[in-house]
Amino acid sequence: MNQIPILIITLPLLLTPILLLIRKINIVYALTLIVSFINISLILALGAEVYNNGSIIYELGGWPAPIGIRLNADLLSCYFLTFINVISFLCLVSSKDIIKHQIHEDNIYLFYIAWLLCNIGFSGIVLTDDIFNLFVFLEISSLSSYFLISQANYKGTLLAAMQYLFIGSIGAVFILLAIGILYAHTGTLNMHDLAMKIGQAKFSESIVFALGLLLAGVGIKSALFPLHGWLIKTYAYAPSIVTTYFAGTSTKIGVYILLRVFLDILNSINPLEYYGLAQFILFISLLGVFLSTLYAVKQKEVKKMLAYSSVAQLGYIIIAIMLLIPDGLTASLIHVVNHSIIKTGLFLIIAVIFINNQNVIIEDLSGLGKKYPILMSCFFILGLGLIGLPITSGFISKWYIITAMLKSEYWYFTFIVLLTSFMTLSYVWVLIEKIYFATNDNDDAINNISIYQMFCIITLTVMTIYLGLETSLTSGIAENISNDFYGVTGK
């Protein structure tokens, strides 16, 4: 059981060079799927163990901390680990039929290898207990994602990948410098150790500088408004299955790093409260939520609309965190999972239907209600989830977010959350209207949606409804995590 954390990372990692040698697409794909599936089983076992018995620690090479690098699987890590890998798996399953149309055939095996590496990067970020290790895994996932994004042959892809590369690297270097400064003050890289030592360190302006760097770096990675520009371009120009994967994972990793660094490691100096950072981020995010929802309403391209929607939803998550109350953290964690599932579902439906189009404009959705009835009902349910209507998981998130806002000292800003929820209705409904009411004289052939893709989409839809009714998996665990963070006892 203690070995599971390292297995989750090394199993796919060992597979990667093997896949590099095997060039046959089918074998590469099969092995990728098998490893992903094994990973999920390991993660579920790990999660159950951690939930019941507390965190599991693995020391690499047997070297004890703070000398060695440790992996620490606590409840927060397992929470993120689970949904990221499940989404990755579902996207992989759906990718087989689409991939041939979007990516050059010779590169497909490399594509899957990069996907595995990206996933390893995400898993590593979440599991590690060493802050420099965090940076390394961050870069592993970033580099693979630059590659994954550049694979499409759309017009704007290469440039978008290039711009993402630059801004992503800048963010990563900011984080690297910040790590260096923190190391200079405390002499340790282990997260737990750092947490203890930073409180005792002598105050210095360089620490404030480091905090600023961390904020900027994490902000870039999690597409905090106004550092969200790369997200729109990336989601629009990447291969659609890659967008589907990243919609639910990459920005959430940014949120994880934010939580880990600012709430966990820097807990003793409490930068968010002390320097008013929380207030600052809160107000910017409120503005960001409003503006991105507005942009989403005005969009004509579906992918960009969903991308702006993601920025807005991420804004909700950040706002909830920055309320600095336990209910806020619970709300944000719940929305992290719920939104990932919904967004992945929406993008996946677009991906499996529009295999060859680069720009899916709203007009393209005309008449889909008749051509793909089951898929469109799933789209409808996921859309309702995005708005936050009852029975869907989105409603649960909204409930928690609004509750948290009302309990905090910023309760008068709740109306912004409510108003933007209403605006979300308007852009989702534009899509629904087109799907069900517009007629398409264009007799496009109906794509053969494979049963695997259907399975994935239906799974995501069912999860949305399930998590809307039986919330112990999301809210139960989220409440546990926030209680641990805020040291609240009882409940």
């Binding site: 870069e139 580099l143 550049s150 290469l158 440039l159 290039m162 590369l165 410098l177 200079a184």
Partner: protein, 107 residues
């Protein structure tokens, strides 16, 4: 003092990335940017009166070897990023015929 120079390098690198429109120059800026951070790590590893961290009988104060090791990792990351960036630039050149970001016509 050295730290000030280091930060100047940091800012120069950042400025080049943001300001230049030629993609190769941007990559150069990225490298300068990243290198400045490497230098920072090495700067902090110097212990006053310390010698290079190779164990020898008559020395007792050594410079901190850990940051050097960290930098090796970071340099590897930097190389990977640079090579990926350069590969992308080649592809961009193939596709658009130019590597000036301003001139790329997305049509």
């Amino acid at each position: 003092m050295l730290y000030v120079l280091n930060m100047t390098l940091f800012l120069i690198g950042l400025f080049i990335i943001v300001r230049e429109s030629n993609l190769i120059k941007k990559v150069i800026g990225l490298n300068i940017f990243q290198s400045s951070v490497f230098i920072f790590y090495i700067l902090i590893s110097k212990v006053e009166g310390g010698v290079p961290p190779i164990i020898s009988a008559d020395q007792s104060i050594y410079s901190n070897p850990l940051p050097h090791v960290l930098i090796l990792t970071a340099i590897v990351v930097s190389i990977a990023t640079t090579s990926l960036a350069l590969a992308l630039i080649i592809r961009i050149k193939d596709k658009y015929g130019t590597i000036e970001e301003d001139d790329i016509d997305l049509g």
